[in-house]
């Protein structure tokens, strides 16, 4: 009979203790970051969207080999006069539908001091159709903007 009341007391006590935990955190300040107004600062090694620097790239294909999902494709530039391949790139395309953001291409890129393909800190990046995921950088065309076959896609979501 006695332990019947003891169990009731024990059950009641632990229920109340559980409620006190939620009561204590009821008064603690909340930790939500309200995204559009407040934004978290991304750490220095953050692997965001990839950018590409047309001038420094020597079209050595190391990044193409390093990529696990083979989403990088490029074409070396050809000197119109001598019809020989020169150490520049004519166009460079990354298919962000397949990219793993794994930084293997950046590590494989031999260009000094700043790598020609590297991660930025940009994560606000939405695309509407699959075609928009093919980001293409052309060196020959006058426009320096990275153009996709369609609308420019660098607009935040």
């Amino acid at each position: 009979m006695l332990n019947y009341f003891k169990t009731i007391y024990k059950v009641g006590k632990s229920l109340i203790q559980g409620m006190l935990v939620t009561w204590k955190s009821f008064w603690q300040p909340s930790i939500t970051v309200q995204f559009p107004d407040e934004k978290l600062i991304t750490p220095e090694r953050f692997r965001g969207a990839l950018t590409f620097d047309k001038e420094t790239c020597t079209a050595c294909n190391l990044c193409v080999k390093a990529c696990p999902t083979a989403c990088i494709s490029l074409e070396p530039a050809v000197d119109p006069a001598t019809k020989k391949r020169i150490a520049k790139v004519s166009w460079y395309q990354i298919d962000f539908g397949k990219c793993n953001y794994c930084r293997l291409c950046e590590e494989a890129c031999p260009t000094k001091p700043i790598k020609s393909v590297r991660h930025t800190h940009q994560y606000e990046w939405g695309m509407l159709e699959r075609k928009e995921m093919f980001v293409k950088w052309e060196r020959m065309s006058p426009s320096t903007e990275p153009s996709t076959s369609g609308s420019t896609n660098m607009k935040p979501i």
Binding site: G18, T22, W23, S25, P29, S30, T32, Q34
Partner: protein, 387 residues
């Protein structure tokens, strides 16, 4: 709670909200005062009607319409507030913020936005479902909730139907909504809601009995079923040599009050299908229980019914145990609102702390624990009343 530093829009919306709050208080004071003197107004009105021979039947229907609209207006207002309040309380209990953007300061207009969204949603009746049972279920679940409010005393004189069988009426009518849930379960044709419906039928039936029996000691002490008389018995204080020690609420009666209060609270949490007894719409097992197949307006009916019952149960707890409407300075109806929202906070607090009981353990808990204790409680009151 550290208030975040306010930017421009938050200051402006704070002002708007303050305006709404004060207007709300003004209207309720007006209703409160009119309510209190309702009988006097009623006399002069009926005498005026007699003089220039307006049929009294027209007058009674007119007052009936006014009372119903006030009641429905109040309940939907209270339910709207409670939905928003639950989301804010649960958020802060979990260290997050809850709705913040709709309508400015702390997202006060969130429920209104939800209500409009639910109205605009498409009303799907699944192919498997029996159409008429599927359509009727929310109505059968929703209407009894509003009927019960007729007999709930919101303060002195603020009661629309002062029945002398007040409590019996409320328990009888609130029992009806189980029918709605079972109809929803069986009507929507999918296995999960069938399970949910059957479970909630078993649960409501078995929790109705301890809930009613826990009120019996109070009836024995007061001697009448009339809710207003129960409330009046609890006014005033126990005076120990002049100084007011404790208010005369039933909860402070020696043993009887506490046991009855606890049993009533637990079984009314179970009656309204809320955690830790929400096996009817257990998200993790039955996807959404009996209202899986409901969308749009019908879903909001179930939602409103649940919150109406929560407020009804907390209102009943205040009237029965916390002396609804008796309090020193403020007018009676504000004491009633304060106490019942405190009890609603208790309901919310339970929901966001406790896990869910299993079906058979829940039944066992009623039949083997709550029921015997309510009988013992009646026994003890019997002895107390003898001496």
């Amino acid at each position: 709670m550290i208030l975040p530093v306010w930017n421009e829009s938050q200051k402006r919306s704070a002002l708007i909200l303050f305006g709404i709050a004060s207007a709300g208080a003004g209207i309720s004071i007006a209703i409160g005062e009119i309510g209190a003197r309702f009988s006097k107004i009623w006399q002069c009105l009926s005498s005026f009607a007699l003089k220039n021979s307006i049929p009294t039947a027209l007058l009674t229907t007119l007052s009936m319409i006014i009372q119903c609209s006030i009641l429905i207006g109040f309940i939907s207002g209270a339910v709207m507030f409670m939905v928003w309040w639950e989301r804010k309380v649960s958020a802060h209990m979990q260290n997050r913020l809850g709705p913040m953007f709709t309508g400015g300061w702390h997202g006060w207009a969130q429920t209104i936005a939800d209500a409009i969204k639910l109205l605009l949603k498409e009303d799907i009746i699944p192919a498997e479902a029996k159409p008429w049972v599927h359509r009727l279920a929310p109505i059968v679940a929703f209407v009894p909730a509003f009927l019960c409010y007729a007999a709930l005393p919101f303060g002195e004189g603020l009661i629309s139907a002062d029945l002398d069988i007040g409590i019996l009426y409320i328990f009888a009518i609130s029992g009806l909504s189980v029918l709605g849930i079972v109809m929803a379960g069986w009507g929507s044709g999918n296995k999960y809601s069938l399970l949910g419906g059957l479970r909630s039928a078993a649960q409501s039936v078995s929790y109705e009995i301890p809930r009613v029996l826990s009120v019996v000691p109070i009836l024995m002490m007061v001697g009448s079923l009339k809710l207003t008389s129960i409330a009046n018995v609890q006014t005033g204080f126990w005076r120990l040599a002049g100084i007011p020690l404790l208010p005369r609420w039933f909860i402070f009666y020696p043993i009887v009050g506490q046991i009855a209060f606890l049993i009533f609270l637990i079984s009314s949490v179970a009656e309204t299908n809320r955690t830790p007894f929400d096996i009817a719409e257990a998200e993790s097992e039955l996807v959404a229980g009996f209202h899986t197949e409901y969308s749009g307006m019908k879903f909001s009916f179930f939602f409103l019914a649940e919150y109406a019952y929560v407020f009804l149960s907390s209102g009943l707890t205040t009237v029965l145990f916390l002396g609804g409407g008796s309090g020193p300075v403020l007018p009676s109806w504000s004491w009633f609102l304060l106490k019942s929202f405190a009890v609603v906070f208790l309901f919310l607090w339970f929901r966001w702390t406790f896990p869910r009981l299993r079906v058979d353990r829940l039944m066992e808990f009623t039949w083997k624990f709550l029921l015997p204790w309510s009988f013992i409680n009646i026994l003890i009151t019997g002895f107390i009343l003898l001496f």
